[in-house]
């Protein structure tokens, strides 16, 4: 394999979090590798792993690249891992969806949209680092503002927030 391509693959493999192209550019600084070249290698790798159809593939997620096991194998991997993580409750998921679409958003607005108190699901989301405090709104009382985290993108396999279906698309589902 081309050495640069192998290095890129190794970096993605070694990284704890999805590896951003910017980061790769930075690491290759002295070699003066262009973004285009890096992107070409990345696409090459993505296609290669997809075609190979092995145990894992290369994905673009949360603004970077990461190897992930193929979803078809989830039952097998679960056998290896034993206990499964606790799934989010409906309340937490609804709260998360509202924050994802309306961010930056204050708690009162989330509660207006859900029609119920969201203290508990909000705390769960904060603890799981899916949601974070992003600051205060410049209105009387200066309420805290919430937004989603990078981990939110990682957990739900999203490249970025624009990958979420639009509100229009979601409303169409209602009809």
């Amino acid at each position: 394999m081309d050495e640069t391509k192998a290095v890129i693959e190794g970096l993605i493999f070694a990284s704890e979090t999805p590896l951003a192209i910017d980061k790769i550019v930075e690491i290759f600084q002295e070699r003066n590798l262009s973004r285009q070249e890096i992107t070409a290698h990345l696409h090459g790798l993505v296609n290669e792993y997809d075609a190979r159809c092995g145990g894992f593939c290369l994905h673009e997620v949360a603004g970077g690249y990461q190897f992930r096991t193929r979803p078809e194998l989830s039952a097998w991997i679960a056998k290896l891992k034993g206990t499964r993580p606790v799934a989010l409750t409906t309340a937490a998921l609804e709260t998360l969806a509202i924050i994802a679409y309306r961010q930056p958003v204050v708690k009162a607005e989330v509660e207006r949209l859900r029609g119920v108190d969201v203290s508990r699901p909000l705390r769960t989301l904060l603890e799981r680092k899916l949601v974070r405090l992003v600051g205060r709104k410049d209105v009387p009382g200066k309420p805290m503002i919430y937004g989603t985290t990078r981990k939110f993108l990682e957990v739900f396999s999203l490249r970025d927030l624009s990958e979420l279906p639009t509100m229009g698309e979601l409303k169409d589902l209602t009809k």
């Binding site: 992930r68 989830s74 309340a91």
Partner: protein, 244 residues
């Protein structure tokens, strides 16, 4: 009416209302308020008889429904130049929005969820090299973790400590840090210099409070050159840069 549906499956009053609309196959844009109000109130009654902890939000929506119903019963008397409005409109809007977010949460669930459908490399990272702190990214701690850590500390101490901190306290800390910084740059400052010509009430008050706190903590000294003379501030103790 069949009550086989478990009541605790509802995520709130809007969820219950959406359920009733779907169950009766009603048009969300043209809800027969009388019917839906009746059924909604019946559910509320069941919740009460089952002695479930009925959240206040359910009662608020019940009141809203009754209010809309009464408005629809009254003959319309639109004022001059005012559009005739459907009293159901706001509620319909709210329901549609809530339904859209419910769909959004389901579409999130339908994605490839990490550690449910897909897994990342499991092996522990290699040895961590000595960190270069100035170049560190700080992604792994957020404000919530900080606040939670403080809560943890306080919860080991008991109630009285809990009440001592508020917004003013932290604004004061900002001002104290600022004053100490400026005093370290220049050996002394006058009170007027400290205010920089700013006359904003809040700032003046915080500056005064900060000075009182600093004197109380014996971090600065304040001297006046005779009655009505210039007030000067000094560091009480020279500060060395090192720590130990």
């Amino acid at each position: 009416m069949d009550y086989e549906v478990k009541l605790d499956i509802f995520e709130g009053p809007l969820d219950l209302l959406l359920y009733l609309i779907k169950k009766n196959e009603l048009d969300i844009y043209n809800i027969p308020i009388a019917l839906i109000t009746k059924q909604y109130l019946e559910y509320i009654d069941i919740l009460k008889t089952l002695n479930l902890d009925l959240a206040g939000e359910y009662l608020v929506l019940a009141a809203t429904l009754v209010h809309i119903k009464s408005k629809l019963l009254l003959p319309e008397t639109p004022e001059e130049g005012e559009e005739e409005s459907d009293p159901r409109q706001e509620l319909v809007q709210q329901l549609l929005e809530y339904q859209a977010f419910k769909n959004a949460s389901q579409s999130l669930q339908a994605r490839e969820v990490l550690e449910r459908d897909v897994f990342i490399r499991g092996a522990a990272p290699a040895e961590t090299p000595p960190a270069d702190y100035d170049n560190q990214a700080w992604l792994e701690i957020g404000l919530f973790e900080l606040v939670d850590a403080f809560r943890q500390v306080l919860s080991n101490l008991g109630q009285p400590e809990l009440m001592k901190i508020d917004l003013d306290r932290t604004s004061l800390a900002d001002r104290i840090n600022e004053i100490m910084d400026r005093l370290r740059e220049r050996q002394s400052l006058t009170f007027t210099e400290l205010l920089n010509g700013q006359r904003e009430r809040r700032l003046v008050i915080y500056t005064l409070l900060a000075l009182l706190e600093l004197v109380k903590q014996r971090m600065i000294r304040i001297c006046q050159s005779g009655p009505f003379g210039v007030i000067r501030l000094f560091l009480a103790v020279a500060v060395e840069e090192e720590h130990g």
